[in-house]
């Protein structure tokens, strides 16, 4: 999986302190890895997305959590 494009966007969002974008970008990366069967990598990125979703009070937190729970990564 090629993360070059999204990685640059993630770094830019970190630099800008843009947590809402980070939630979306990490979610995208996580979903792609999970879809490709790379569960460990996917759950790593989904965890990142989950944290920023929680911090910014985003609705996406619930669905991300569900995925993490389904893969035994969250309780």
């Amino acid at each position: 999986m090629n993360l070059d494009g999204i990685n640059a966007a993630i770094l830019a969002a970190h630099s800008a302190g843009d947590g809402v974008s980070l939630a979306g970008l990490y979610r995208r990366a996580g979903d792609e890895f999970v879809a490709a069967g790379s569960i460990d990598e996917g759950c790593f990125f989904l965890t990142q997305a989950y944290v920023y979703s929680l911090e910014y009070g985003l609705d996406s937190a619930a669905s991300i959590r569900s995925v993490l729970v389904a893969h035994g990564r969250e309780r």
Binding site: C43, F44, V51, A61
Partner: protein
């Protein structure tokens, strides 16, 4: 001499006629400062902020209270909470600057997330990359440390030790005295909220505030209408002390406009006004048409930040016609309170005089001040006895 069972350095006679004040080290000593932090500030109900500092749900403000990192929060239901501003993981400061939290509090170090009620919500990667739980990390036992909190007259009070009486009991005497003033308060902010960074021990600001003896010298502007003999002592041992005036004069605008009164006040308050130091560190004023509170925030033995907030019985947003008068009133109070600064700073420098013996009280004039010394000495004594028993 009916002295307390405390060391010589803390000895306060039970009679003002023979008493000396607290010794120099209570004002300039680092060790004594630390002891008083516990005995006078943390074990009592201390004012740390104004509720108006966090007006909106999710508003958060870090506070350094005498060196203790605290976090003032208004949760999403509008309730005010105070926590220790320290992550339960590595002790990182959680919130560095005043902000609005849309969701959870995220620790900037390893991103442990806390709900605004202090419960630990998420522990990312705690069980390894992408694994967010660990059998040995029980979130239920890792909430932020809560601080007992109560809001009164827009002041956020905290009891750090957690073992003080409930606030309503602690403040029973002053609430009874000012029961007519139990009314909603509105803070305009802007120039009506200001602060002074003062080179003095916080107690000196209490002592100066609670006596009227200094008024003709330090506030000569009062002499024309509010003479020394128009004032009386307010003395409630163990709780508060201060001074009152019987000739309170309302501020007027250019067209003779005045602020509306608090509703339902008795006739006394037409001319009466009271200025009370509510121990340990909040200075209050009650007047017919406005109030204020001053928080004394210790920054070390010889430095105090005084935060002032003026309040009104009406929402200033509803009375644009009074905005100029509000500005004038803020300017007036700023000027009056500024007049006291050289005194408290001068007393602080004077406490470096090795031969100073705590000071001779003027029995007829220093009663309120003496009561504060007595309160402080008693609490220090209790602390010492408690430590000795442990």
């Amino acid at each position: 001499m009916d002295a307390l069972q405390i060391p010589e350095s803390e000895m306060i006679s039970r009679q003002i006629e023979t008493a000396r004040g607290l010794a120099n080290d209570h004002y300039i000593g680092s060790d004594r400062y630390d002891e008083e932090r516990e005995a006078l500030l943390f074990s009592a109900w201390s004012g740390i902020a104004f509720a108006s500092d966090v007006p909106h749900p999710g508003d958060a403000m870090p506070i350094d209270f005498a060196g203790l990192p605290l976090l003032l929060l208004r949760d999403h239901d509008g309730e005010i909470n105070v926590f220790q501003n320290t992550c339960r993981h590595r002790g990182m400061i959680l919130v560095e600057e005043k902000c609005n939290l849309r969701g959870t509090i995220r620790c900037p170090y390893h991103s442990w997330c806390y709900n605004l009620d202090g419960t630990l919500r998420a522990t990312p990667h705690v069980g390894g990359p992408g694994v967010n739980y660990d059998e040995n990390v029980d979130r239920r036992n890792l909430s932020l440390f809560p601080i007992k909190t109560h809001v009164w007259r827009d002041v956020v009070f905290v009891n750090i030790s957690g073992d003080a009486p409930e606030f309503d009991d602690y403040a029973d005497a002053i609430k009874e005295r000012w029961k007519e003033h139990e009314k909603p308060l509105f803070a305009p902010g802007g120039s009506s909220s200001f602060e002074f960074d003062v080179a003095c021990n916080w107690k000196l600001a209490v002592e100066n505030y609670c006596e009227s003896y200094h008024l003709p010298w330090i506030h000569p502007g009062l002499n024309s209408y509010s003479r020394l003999e128009d004032h009386y002592h307010i003395e409630e041992p163990g709780c508060f002390s201060g001074q009152g005036t019987m000739v309170y004069r309302q501020i007027e605008g250019e067209r003779g406009e005045r602020f509306p009164d608090f509703e339902g006040l008795s006739e006394f308050w037409n001319k009466g006004a009271e200025y009370i130091a509510f121990y340990p560190n909040v200075l209050f004023a009650a007047q017919r048409d406005h109030a204020y509170a001053i928080l004394l925030l210790p920054k070390g033995p010889g430095r105090t930040v005084e935060r002032v907030e003026i309040n009104y019985p009406f929402d200033p947003k509803d009375r644009p016609d009074l905005s100029k008068l509000i500005e004038s009133n803020a300017k007036q109070w700023y000027g009056v309170l500024e007049e006291d600064l050289f005194v408290v700073e001068g007393m602080q420098r004077g406490r470096h005089g090795l031969l100073f013996d705590g000071g001779k009280f003027a029995p007829k004039m220093d009663g309120p001040n003496y009561l504060f010394h007595l309160w402080a000495a008693d609490r220090m004594s209790s602390r010492k006895l408690r430590l000795a028993a442990e």
